[in-house]
Symmetry: C2
Subunit: 367 residues, 2 copies
């Protein structure tokens, strides 16, 4: 029985060769630049896939939650940064983690540091989260005084080691081409370096800089002014990254295999078993069209190139509607599998919770 | 320790009293109309919550997947309709189910019936899925000939019992007020009744009609021309249903309790731990503003009324940004819990996988 014959409901296919190539390319790039690599594991969320990074010499990782830190700590990772502003409701779990691994934490306000002061102390590296212009969260990069106050407050707690300034150039996700990405990424790096310079002018000592977003890390060759890089999505990429220009279609390492349940050739649509609970409702915007992903036909044990003009037009809980630009949808029959290149691979992994490699091996995640 | 003190990460709160009231109201309405009730369990996905329906005399249920049918069959439900067009890749699992429970299936094309012909037979009720105007999937209601062909093909398989015509008036979800909903819902019912009449004029015998969508079932008092109702979302409702007018804010039975991690009063924003992996990226459109849900302050062991003008402005994987219209966000402190009334409760349940009742009991789901 072939791998595809075993698929009876939406399943996340993983091209292991492509994913490993994506890891290798980023490892080499970061290594050439002499920057420390701390890949974000929120994309794959898998101990087994995490081990592939170890083969490339990676020893430090980034996660997005305490739960994820606990999972990877239990799977042998010893140097973990939780890249999410400290949630003071989780201090007990964080303290337990700090007893097991070298832990990095993020703070962006005095309330978080006060909470650390008022509980039994533990050792951790502390990064100050800087808003370098994306305005999601963090201390505004223009508020150098606030940053200095935070560093001074951290210094009052001898177990804590102020490590540096961290930002996520989330605005690169809204760029439409490589040039815009490079410009937005470098602007963020320059802003955070201005904060560092201002602080050092005030007499603060060593301050490292940690940045990381897949578009910037993929497209920008100038990594000056950066001590640590934390991209995550690059291991799989996805249709959003393809649209931004961070990757080619061949670099996309995951696709959701979905059974075809109905054909509507009169409106060039195909109904698939594959909905919002499989693909997520994260969107892809290309040339004024909003969709939830691109469409590829099954090919061998994997998938082919994206079908020109075809996209996931709508999603309800379990249904997906594929829209074709021409008659290519008529290649499909009821019961076939069709592959969706998801808008956002991280959210799709979170929903589908396991992978099926093209050789038929199931890989689990923390979920 | 209070219930809220035990919450350290995004948690789905369930007001059991409100949910039971919502069930009771719909049961009474359907009963008054003399219509058969087959509530959709894809919203709550929980054996324990399913049992609440039994207390109101419900014995027949709707589910959206084979997996969900298997779960509820294992939890004692004996009459289950899988309201998703037959996925012929799952015939073995469907046959196993048909050996255990009275099973209803949906077909919308001859390919599905041919697949049933070519495998070992099993007994099931068969509904023909009609597209009554929403254009998601199903046989277009104007194509009476196609429907007749399907019924004739079903009749060739003696184990299968053609039951009737089924539709989902999905377009009521895009309505902006009660009047539009009633009009869209009744239009769908009329269309499917025209199909029935045309078929009966051709000599087909008994044909039942099954419809169901929460806006229509909540707002339309005229249930004539309907044999079976299948709403699901009404047990919890959500911010989308509130916007449509299907419910009041007091009828919303679920909210996601999220820890506050940062305050940005200068732009009236609050950063919460609660992102796309907790709330889903389904959107809420109110007065030209697109958001992912409404905001309520914690109150007692539950939550209060939606804060006027406040909404979830953006979501990334783990972060949510709350936007306030005024200074009300300043009531919140870092470490507080704030409640989000999600845009779409079904997808939020799917993501969070368990409930915490206001009395502190954890209720599991199939996930």
């Amino acid at each position: 029985m072939s791998v595809s014959d075993r698929i009876d409901q939406p399943m996340l296919l993983l091209n292991e060769v492509t994913a490993r190539n994506n890891i290798q390319r980023m490892v080499e790039k970061v290594s050439r630049a002499g920057v420390r690599f701390r890949p974000h594991f929120k994309t794959h969320q898998s101990a087994e896939i995490g081990a592939w990074f170890r083969e490339f010499g990676v020893e430090r990782i980034t996660v997005s939650s305490v739960e994820m830190a606990e999972y990877f700590a239990a799977n042998g990772w010893q140097d973990i940064l939780i890249a999410f502003s400290l949630n003071i409701r989780q201090l007990e779990r964080i303290r337990a983690l700090a007893g097991k691994v070298k832990l990095g934490l993020l703070v962006e306000n005095l309330e978080a540091i006060n909470a650390l002061t008022q509980t039994p102390h533990f050792a951790a590296d502390i990064w100050v989260k800087i808003d370098a212009g994306a305005h999601r969260t963090g201390v505004d990069w223009l508020e150098t005084g606030k940053v200095a106050d935070l560093i001074n407050a951290i210094a009052q707690l001898p177990d804590l080691n102020f490590k540096g300034l961290l930002t996520h150039s989330g605005n690169t996700y809204h760029c439409e081409n490589a040039q815009q990405v490079v410009s937005a990424f470098r602007e963020g790096v320059e802003h955070i370096n201005l904060v560092r310079q201002a602080l050092q002018a005030k007499g603060f000592g060593k301050i490292e800089i940690s940045v990381g977003d897949t578009p910037g890390c993929s497209l920008c060759n100038d990594l000056s002014g950066i001590d640590e890089l934390r991209p995550g999505n690059f291991i799989f990429y996805d249709a959003q990254q393809l649209a931004i220009g961070s990757c080619t279609a061949e670099d996309i390492a995951v696709a959701v295999a979905c059974p075809v349940v109905a054909l509507h050739p009169e409106r060039r649509e195909v109904t698939i078993y594959g909905g919002a609970i499989h693909l997520s409702k994260d969107i892809l915007e290309v040339d004024g069209t909003t969709s939830y992903g691109l469409v590829a036909f099954a090919k061998g044990e994997g998938w082919g190139a994206p079908v020109p003009g075809a996209f996931v037009r709508s999603l309800s809980q379990e249904h997906g509607i594929l829209q074709f630009a021409d008659d290519q949808g008529q290649q499909l029959k009821v019961g076939d599998l069709v592959c969706v290149l998801p808008a956002h691979s991280c959210l799709t992994v979170q929903l589908l919770r396991k992978y099926l490699t093209l050789s038929g091996r199931v890989i689990s995640t923390m979920n």
